[in-house]
Amino acid sequence: MTILTFTLILLGGAFLAGLLGSLTGLGGGVVIIPLLTLVFHTDIRYAIGTALIAAIATSSGSASAYVKEGITNIRLGMFLEIATTTGAVAGALLAVYMPTSVVAVIFGLVLIVSAVLSFWPKGNHLETTDKSQLAQQLRLNGQYPTPEGMVNYKVRHVPGGYLMMTLAGVLSGLLGIGSGALKVLAMDNMMKVPFKVSTTTSNFMIGVTAAASAVVYLQRGYIDPGLCLPVVLGVLAGALGGTKILAKANTRMLRVVFGVVITLLALQMIYNGVTGKL
């Protein structure tokens, strides 16, 4: 296979990854790593570097649409970015010392957890009583527009959410993924932020978190231009197409299929990691 064929096939694969990633909310990066390692037999370190760049591209690309709706909690995002960026730097450092087979197994496990979480019923919390003094002092409470007008919401369990975000950052730096599912889990289930706000705030944070470990990866040679070329362009085009379809189609069936595919890929990654093939 020449570089031309390789680039074109990967461009198509990245387009599909971006499309499915945005339709299911899992992000394009999670499919890029199995695609590169299992299908193209790329070293997992190149795959991780490339996926991280794809995560930044999709996060920044879709942020402009979200920010306009005015539901992103910028203060909450900024405060939690302290946790995710320190975690991401730690994760990127950890990646040097960890054998690639262990990284593959952890990736597989995180992928399965993310897939399961994306199917978990989303309760739409609305906490209106001020229970966290810390949230008040940090001015994390906010409001968001609903059909019934602006609604005020309060944030809870700030230290727990912060710790969870640190973990999300470590995984992001170690595996080259946006860890969007974990970020939403921290804000949604722990901090009781309304689902719409947590989803968009998580997306807002992914780019900054990924940038913190991307600068380390760049110096280490994980980020290869020959791979970034098809992946960045493909994932961006796919994500763009995904948001267009999302407005119209019923994605329930697609989500189920994608969830099954993701789980199979994850199992394959774990198997290859355990048998030392990655």
């Binding site: 296979m1 020449t2 570089i3 031309l4 390789f6 680039t7 193209f40 037999h41 790329t42 070293d43 370190r45 190149y46 760049i53 930044i56 591209a57 996060s59 920044s60 690309g61 942020a63 402009s64 979200y66 920010v67 306009k68 005015g70 992103t72 910028i74 900024m78 405060f79 970015e81 302290i82 960026t85 320190t86 730097v89 990127a92 450092l93 040097v96 940090l138 780019g207 900054v208 990924a210 940038a211 913190a212 991307a214 600068v215 380390v216 760049l218 110096q219 280490r220 040679g221 980020i223 290869d224 231009p225 020959g226 791979l227 970034c228 070329l229 098809p230 960045v232 362009l233 961006l236």
Partner: protein, 132 residues
């Protein structure tokens, strides 16, 4: 200009829309650069074989900005792609810088400090010799 410096302006949702626009232009610009570099790369190397099976470690042609810029001025495809990638990484960092400015105009000292901490962590990972 007077409007830009007024506190009211920055408290508006306009700031957020501006942030979103900044991110979008960053992404558009970097895609164009990646695409341009990609054309050169494919024309010159399209017939060669891809080598990604084994990790080769840092490549001193594109693991630091000065080297990337040298390659860009020589018209090398892969360095131009990498410049696009660097622009993509720089986009969220630019957003942080922009937020420091926005919080300063709002006189929100707590969040100026929080934003500067985030910026500090990123600068540390950039310049702290973590490349190994």
């Amino acid at each position: 200009m007077k409007r830009l410096l007024s506190r009211k302006y920055w408290e508006d949702k306009d700031v957020e829309v501006l942030l979103g626009t900044l991110l979008r232009y960053g992404v558009i610009l970097s895609s164009i650069v990646v695409f341009a570099g990609g054309i050169i790369y494919i024309i010159r190397h399209g017939h060669e074989m891809p080598e990604y099976r084994d990790f080769a470690g840092p490549n001193n042609r594109w693991d630091n900005l000065p080297a990337i810029m040298r390659g860009v001025f020589l018209g090398h495809g892969r360095e131009i792609i990498q410049l696009g990638v660097v622009l993509l990484i720089a986009t969220p960092i630019a957003r942080i810088l922009f937020s420091v400015f926005a919080f300063t105009v709002e006189k929100d000292y707590l969040y100026i400090v929080i934003t500067l901490i985030v910026l500090g962590v990123i600068l540390f990972s950039m310049l702290g010799g973590l490349g190994g």
